[in-house]
């Protein structure tokens, strides 16, 4: 997995690319936690270039979502496709996240 990030307005946009599994999810969690520690509260996680997520990855995203909420912040998901969307759906997570087609749509919603 590779992690790309950009900042637009006051939003930290994190884009994991490749595979978020039991091994690589820690990279995502560390990056997110560093954002929280630096005072970030608004996050978009762009999954459009992620092609694999296991339950460990799903848990990592859910944990980040809860941490953002605990800081009165928000974390939005966008760009879910294929097996990644399916994993969110099968796990039941999709019903609890509002998801957006792309980063621009998510930014408009914040």
């Amino acid at each position: 997995m590779e992690l790309f990030e950009q900042r637009r307005r006051n939003v930290l946009i994190i884009s994991p690319v490749g595979k978020m599994d039991a091994v690589t999810v820690t990279e995502f969690s560390h990056r997110f936690d560093a954002g929280i520690e630096a005072g970030d509260t608004l996050f978009i996680v762009d999954l459009s270039r992620l092609d694999y997520i296991s339950s460990a990855g799903l848990r990592g995203v859910l944990t980040a979502f809860k941490k953002a909420g605990a800081k009165q912040g928000r974390l939005l998901l966008c760009g879910l496709t294929g097996l990644v969307r399916e994993a969110f759906h099968v796990s039941g997570f999709l019903t609890h996240f509002t998801t957006y087609d792309n980063v621009d749509e998510a930014l408009d919603a914040l």
Partner: protein, 142 residues
């Protein structure tokens, strides 16, 4: 029938990836579609993770992974451990409909395992959990 794969390793986190990747390599060599390879990868990761996290109360024990083509031409992976009895085909799912805070998060892996394998079968024999994951090369959608 000679197994395509037969590996025994301690059931620890560091061995999830090499075991999973060995399974994925076989699916790739078998000419599976990219989507089906990813389904094999996901189902095997979830099955392994379950053994690694929950099978052995004292944290030590082995997991074995083997693979054959069965009579019907399906790829059949067998995961064996000697830990506490656990049947993933019967376990409760994560419980859709509960709020994210209340869901049995551990059940998510079981949901993904069941969804991505074409067929799962479990038996408990001589103190061992034996889980078979079958994949049909013709299958587009499980």
């Amino acid at each position: 029938m000679k197994p395509l794969l037969n590996i025994v390793l301690p059931a620890s986190q560091e061995h999830m990836e090499p075991l999973r990747d060995a399974a994925t390599a076989i699916a790739r060599e078998s000419g599976f579609s990219a989507e089906l390879i990813a389904r094999v990868e996901l189902a095997v990761e979830e099955a392994l993770t379950n053994v690694i996290l929950h099978a052995y109360a004292d944290g030590t024990g082995n997991v074995s992974l083997s693979c054959i083509y069965d009579d019907g031409g399906q790829l059949a992976f067998t995961l064996t451990d000697s830990g506490v009895a656990f049947d993933p085909t019967a376990a409760a799912s994560a419980g859709k409909g509960l709020s994210t805070g209340k869901r049995a998060v551990g059940g998510v892996g079981i949901d993904l395992l069941r969804h991505n394998a074409d067929r799962l079968s479990y038996r408990r024999t001589n103190g061992k959990n034996i889980l078979e994951l079958m994949f049909n090369p013709e299958s587009g959608q499980p």
